[in-house]
């Protein structure tokens, strides 16, 4: 028996085979949830994942509000009322502060921050209308606790998500909706492919060596298990909270 038997979940930004979203989908499904797999791209990977977990793939760009409203409506019509929403879609660029372009700013803010608002508010409205409470979990980042050079916009959007999450937690508590966020550390996801650290084997080794627990990157499923904690009855009394899953990276930063 799973901890999420009978629950319906939506995970955004979930298709890519090396992404955090896929780890979240697999863990929610392993606990018995029916999962809607969303992504703006990677349709084949998304459909394959949906088949694997007995869920369904929904293509939609979270930065577009009309598409998000339609996404939530379709998931509820086809899978049932939403119990769990993991707002996970994210993009990143690496640019020195003085070289950040408006195009990059708009792209990252559109997906990471406006996308989180779109998904969070559409999910909350559906859950309030359903009258059965709900669980919303955002993917933020270790960036909410430490600044990373060349990633000003990415880090700023994650801090914005942190503030959004906390405000939602207060306002949605009366409806039985909890709102929390997870803080992944190093994940060798597609998002990180352009990272300068990954272009240089020595730098990557040095970076991984800074991770106190095992000197290894995270498995996306380890992020999924943190989402399951918030989404299951274990998280009944937890809202506005942040769960960092980084192998001790942040606390080890100055060690």
């Amino acid at each position: 028996m799973g901890r999420l038997d009978g629950k319906v979940a939506l995970v955004t930004g979930a298709a890519h085979e090396r992404g955090i979203g896929r780890g979240i989908v697999r863990e929610l499904a392993a606990e018995g949830a029916r999962v809607a797999v969303n992504d703006a791209a990677y349709q084949e990977m998304g459909e394959e994942l949906a088949r694997e977990v007995g869920g369904r793939f929904y293509r939609a760009d979270v930065s577009d509000r009309a598409l998000v409203d339609e996404l939530v409506q379709r998931v509820e019509a086809e899978l049932g009322p939403l119990d769990i929403v993991a707002s996970n879609a994210g993009v990143a660029d690496w640019q020195p502060f003085v070289e950040i372009t408006e195009a990059s700013f708009d792209r990252i803010v559109g997906v990471n921050l406006t996308g989180a608002f779109n998904v969070g508010q559409a999910a909350a409205r559906a859950m309030v209308a359903g009258g059965r409470g709900g669980r919303i979990v955002f993917t933020s980042s270790v960036h909410v606790q430490m600044p990373f050079p060349t990633m000003a916009v990415y880090g700023a959007t994650k801090q914005g998500v942190r503030a959004l999450c906390e405000a939602m937690a207060i306002e949605l508590a009366p409806y039985g909706i909890t709102v929390n966020h997870i803080g992944p550390g190093w994940v060798l996801s597609a998002l990180n492919d352009p990272s300068p650290v990954l272009q240089d084997e020595q730098e990557l080794r040095a970076s991984l060596a800074q991770i106190p627990l095992g000197g290894r990157p995270a498995d996306p499923r380890e992020m999924g298990r943190a989402v399951v904690y918030f989404a299951s009855s274990d998280g009944d009394y937890v809202t506005g909270e942040y769960l960092r899953v980084d192998g001790g990276f942040v606390v080890g930063k100055f060690a």
Binding site: R65, P96, F97, V98, I100, E102, F105, D106, V109, L113, T114, F117, Q121, A124, R125, V128, H143, V144, P147, F148, P149, T150, M151, A152, V153, G155, A156, T157, K158, Q159, G160, R162, A163, L164, E166, A167, M168, A169, I170, E171, L172, G240
Partner: protein, 146 residues
């Protein structure tokens, strides 16, 4: 010394569930203006410099009905801290001032002026409350010390 100051961030207040796409986009536009302004300043500034963002009380502690200014202030806080790290070698500091929910202009400007001054050359990436104690109280009074 030329300096750059943006804020305090202002945004529509109201229940989260009722926030419109329009007010969200207005908030994003304001944040974008402050961010791009600081970037342009850092591009052009020669020698030491100062960037100050005046944030919002809700960026530090969530306040029902003040979601948008909280998100905007939070965004600019991390933006300032990353800029602080990157610009340190040029002697450019970047700091954040946090006013009360209803900002007291005098209190805020005193702290901003300090951060812009020569005396503050060793202060960067700091988040400084200029709020009469608002952030340390739980009643949410505008400014308990004022």
């Amino acid at each position: 010394m030329e300096t750059f100051v943006a804020g305090p961030v202002q945004a529509e207040r109201g229940p989260f569930l009722e926030l419109s796409q329009k007010v969200w986009e207005e908030m994003v536009a304001e944040v974008r203006k402050a961010f791009v302004g600081a970037r342009d300043y850092a591009r052009e500034q020669e020698g030491p410099g100062r960037i100050v963002f005046v944030s919002a009380a809700a960026a530090v502690r969530p306040i029902a009905g003040a979601t948008l200014e909280g998100v905007a202030g939070a965004f600019l806080t991390t933006a300032a801290q990353v800029a602080a790290v990157e610009l340190a070698e040029r002697g450019i500091t970047a700091n954040v001032v946090v006013p009360a929910l209803e900002p007291d202009e005098q209190t805020v400007s005193t702290v901003v002026e300090f951060l812009l001054s020569d005396s503050a050359q060793g202060v960067s990436g700091a988040v400084v409350a200029a709020d009469g104690g608002f952030s340390i109280t739980k009643e949410g009074k505008p400014s308990p010390l004022l």
